[in-house]
């Protein structure tokens, strides 16, 4: 025997003698008995993953009200839901946030609540037409009141994902979770060797029409996902499934602090072992799957890579970054991923789940391009200006004079080599006078938030807003002061852009 077909496997499922292993069990079998034995003995390998998948959402159809409404704007539990279609079809996007409880409750939670059987409140408004005269609507619904309630996720199930860490001297909150300052921790996503797409990296069996475990029910792959990048081992899939049959244990709303809301989606894909190559591919181990360690402290598209790490190291709980041992959090639930692979295995063994052959293969050569931008990103270098400086041994009076003469609000404190030591503002001087302080040393702010010439103005302005400050010294790699950028400069720039 050198191959097996989906029909043969389904026949075995019907007869109740199909051999199914989870991806983890398959790896052990191949290790102990070799690929050939594994190919002979195993018909199907089940995989699983349970992670935050932001590009998810549900399509619902409400049926018509009387008098009917052509919904223009709608909210469910105060979460804005898009109105992409005709009159009463809505899309609940996982990342849309409640207008009353933003960052805590969002589209993902609405989907979970509906699946759990809870009541939700729908509000809608419209402009009214001759055929749809109604302009306002408020009603209470459960999933049973909906005609259709389908999960339609346009990017799920990343083959693998990066490991995130943070070089900044402050905690940052990202879609990769909370990242402590100075590489204080790291996070990763995905289930490694259990990840569905990692077990069929050439998309021999996963394609349009592949039946899968989706949120505790049976769903389908409907195409490649957006940003599908199989050449870089970063494939994705688009999936659809009937929410009314799903189990809230495998589909959960979630909130990432200061980032927003999302949906944890449970996906399991059966890989039919059609040939010996697939037996080998499904034996892939965590140590063979490497991902870059990426610095999320640098807010640019191509964030710096600090090295590579395998899922084996990631799952061990500790990795090494810049010679330092740091703890690393999985953001996907590896526990639930295993449960999904085991549940799918049981379904197949019990004849509750039959395999399908794809009706169309997924592309394996897709390019994942960055955005075409027709407006140039403005960098700090185009708004920077000369910084008024002083030395730390100068008197408060001298610095006060400089502030008046040069009519500025910020004086940057530097050493003999023009390296940054601190900053003094006109407010600091005012306060010093009020409190009777004489020494500049006592009023210098030493922990200074800075920027660089090549930082986008957008990023510099976010720093000022976050720290409630109005200027940033511009420094080079050696901390030499090259100038200063103030909120006034940015306001002027925005004014120019609007007028221009």
């Amino acid at each position: 025997m050198n191959k097996r077909t989906i029909e043969e496997i389904n026949e075995k499922i019907r007869k109740g003698d199909v051999q199914v292993l989870t991806a983890e069990e398959m790896k052990k079998l191949v290790e102990s008995s070799g690929v050939e034995v594994a190919f002979k003995e195993v018909d199907v390998v089940t995989t699983g993953t349970f992670g935050a998948m932001c590009s998810s959402g549900a399509v619902i159809n409400l049926g018509h009200s009387d008098p009917p409404i052509k919904i223009q704007h709608a909210w469910i539990n105060d979460v804005p839901v898009c109105h992409p279609g005709a009159a009463v079809d809505l899309y609940i996007g996982a990342t849309m946030m409640s207008e009353t409880r933003p960052f805590e409750y969002g589209g993902g939670h609405v989907i979970e609540d509906l699946i759990s059987g809870k009541e939700v409140e729908l509000r809608a408004t419209s402009y009214g037409t001759d055929c749809y005269p109604r302009t306002r609507l408020r009603t209470i619904l459960t999933k049973h009141d909906l005609n259709q309630f389908y999960l339609v996720n346009f990017r799920n199930c990343y083959q693998r994902y990066v490991c995130a860490t943070n070089s900044r001297d402050e905690t940052i909150y990202t879609y990769m979770g909370k990242l402590l300052p100075n590489f204080g921790n790291a996070t990763f996503s995905g289930a490694g060797e259990l990840n569905p797409l990692m077990n069929d990296p050439d998309y021999e069996t996963i394609g349009v029409g592949t039946r899968i475990f989706l949120g505790g029910a049976q769903g389908y792959v409907i195409g490649e996902g957006t940003q599908h990048d199989p050449k870089n081992l970063s494939g994705t899939i688009m999936v659809r499934g009937d929410c009314k049959k799903m189990d809230p244990r495998f589909i959960r709303g979630a909130a990432f602090t200061r980032y927003g809301t999302t949906l944890y989606v449970g996906i399991g894909i059966p890989i039919p072992i059609l040939n010996i190559g697939l037996a080998k591919k499904t034996a892939i181990r965590d140590e063979d799957i490497k991902v870059p360690i990426v610095d999320y402290g640098v807010p640019v598209r191509d964030r710096p890579k600090l090295g590579w790490v395998s899922y084996k190291e990631l799952k061990s709980g500790t990795i090494t970054i810049k010679g330092k041992k740091v703890k690393v959090s999985p953001l996907s639930s590896l526990k639930v991923a295993k449960e999904i692979a085991e549940t799918l295995k049981r379904w197949i063994e019990e004849g509750l789940f039959y395999l399908t052959a794809p009706v169309e293969r997924l592309p394996t050569d897709t390019e994942y391009k960055p955005m075409k931008q027709t407006e140039e990103t403005v960098l700090v270098r185009s708004v920077v200006h000369h910084a008024v400086t002083c030395r730390e041994d100068e008197s408060i009076k001298d610095v006060a004079k400089r502030i008046i003469n040069q009519s500025v609000n910020h004086v940057v404190v530097v050493d003999e080599q023009e390296k940054l030591l601190g900053i003094v503002t006109s407010w600091d001087i005012t306060k010093a006078v009020a409190e009777g302080k004489n020494k500049l040393n006592e009023i210098i702010t030493r922990k200074v938030i800075t920027t660089t010439l090549d930082e986008p103005v957008e990023v510099a302005s976010r720093k000022m807003a976050q720290h409630q400050i109005s200027a940033l010294p511009v420094i080079d790699n050696d901390r030499r002061v090259l100038g200063i950028v103030t909120s006034e400069d940015i306001a002027k720039l925005l004014g120019r852009q609007r007028n221009g």
Binding site: K178, A254, S329, L331, S333
Partner: protein
Amino acid sequence: MARILLRFPESIVDQPIISQVISEYNISLNILAARVNSQGGEILVEIPPEDVKRAVKLFRDRGITVAFPKLIEVDREKCLHCGACYSLCPAGAITINKEDFSVIFDYEKCIGSSCAACVDACPVRAITLSRELGLLERENEDKKINQEKVQS
């Protein structure tokens, strides 16, 4: 080590009670977190288990309220076992089981609201601070718990 929370009322905040207990009664005591001002204060300390009864009595006799805090609550029903909290815990109170990848909390190691790093990192908000330092209104509840603890 056992963890106890000491609450100082305003009237005795100026007295060196902790150093007295350490030096005069030879109890070794590790301060984990402290929040003290002129209105009173709260200090979370670790004490060797064999000294707990003696120390609690010494502190109570000096007018200090002693509580045995459970510093965080984890809603087991909500927890996804994603482990987002694991890498943030400086006290080693959160571990991940290497076999089934379940997330395990060791309440005795948790240092509570002086840290709270895990609380806002939980994507399903399963972790809450149960008895924050600074919430003096919970004192009565604490007293009840203390009595139970010391008696048992």
